[in-house]
């Protein structure tokens, strides 16, 4: 059930580190930075188009958080719903080479990875606050 009025779609990519970071940054938004204020949408469900996700992103501002410069989440939102309200590319934050490193189990996260998560979440949070201020 989607109750909040700002959505975030993380690519959560399984093939590279950037996807791991995008996923954890959005989880940080949900649990620590904006608890109860974030509606996360599942990218595969969004693209499948049968869960109400597309309708949500058509009506309400939605932020894409992508792990690499292919920007799957951003492209999907713009193809199926509307212009994104904001877009974060982890590769721009931590560097393309780093973003394309192997995906990581949460068991193997280091302080460096947590710092990437914090930076990505902070930028996403800033976009979130900017959207909120305009509402």
């Amino acid at each position: 059930m989607i109750n909040n009025k700002i959505g975030i779609i993380s690519c959560s990519g399984e093939e590279c580190l950037g996807g791991t970071i995008s996923r954890l940054a959005v989880r940080k938004m949900m649990e620590e930075l904006k608890p109860g204020m974030v509606s996360t949408l599942c990218l595969p469900l969004f693209i499948a188009g049968d869960g109400g996700e597309r309708e949500f992103a058509e009506k309400y501002p939605t932020i894409a958080v992508d792990g690499c410069s292919k920007c799957c989440a951003k492209r999907a939102i713009e193809k199926y719903s509307n212009q994104v309200a904001g877009s974060v590319d982890v590769a721009e934050i931590i560097g393309e080479d780093k973003a394309l490193e192997k995906p990581l189990s949460t068991r193997h996260l280091t302080d460096e990875h947590h710092e990437y998560v914090n930076k990505t979440a902070a930028i996403t949070c800033q976009i979130f606050d900017d959207i909120l201020a305009k509402q």
Binding site: S10, C11, S12, G13, E14, E15, C16, G19, R23, L24, V26, R27, K28, M30, E31, T40, C42, L43, P44, L45, I47, A48, D50, G51, G67, K70, C72, A73, R75, A76, K102, P103, L104, S105, T106, R107
Partner: protein, 135 residues
């Protein structure tokens, strides 16, 4: 001979998506690194040319987090041959009452369950290879 593609859903809202992801990483990185690889579901659902070429007509195993079966459906729509399909809740019966964590982090019970799921996937890999059904 190509590696078996083992693809989890990228669900972010609940622990099931993380269990799917971690169990697949255990297989592709630790248990069967020479026989398996994972692919990015975001790339699959957006029809990325490189990933479509890798998956089309090839043996795939999917691990979904919920009954929407996003990974299985998306892989099939992209031309992958889903030889084995599972969803995380299918094996919960023996784990009733346990707390497995959240979409961000697993508890020890969660890691134990992920390990069990990974063993199921590893057995699938062995069966596919042994049966001569590898595409």
């Amino acid at each position: 001979m190509s590696k078996i593609k083992v693809i989890p859903c990228s669900g972010i809202g609940k622990v099931f998506g993380l269990l799917a992801r971690e169990s697949v990483l255990m297989v592709t990185e630790e248990k069967c690194p020479n026989d398996t690889e994972t692919l990015c579901l975001a790339h699959v659902v957006t029809g990325d040319d490189e990933v479509v070429a890798k998956i089309n007509g090839k043996s795939c195993i999917t691990m979904d987090g919920c009954a929407k079966y996003c990974a299985k459906k998306s892989v099939e729509e992209t031309g992958g041959v889903v030889v084995k399909s599972h969803k995380v809740p299918d094996f919960m019966k023996a784990h009733r009452g346990e707390e497995h964590g959240t979409g961000t982090a697993l508890t020890q019970d969660g890691w134990n369950y992920a390990e069990e799921l990974a063993e199921i996937l590893a057995a699938d890999v062995k069966e596919i290879k042994g049966g001569g059904d590898l595409l």
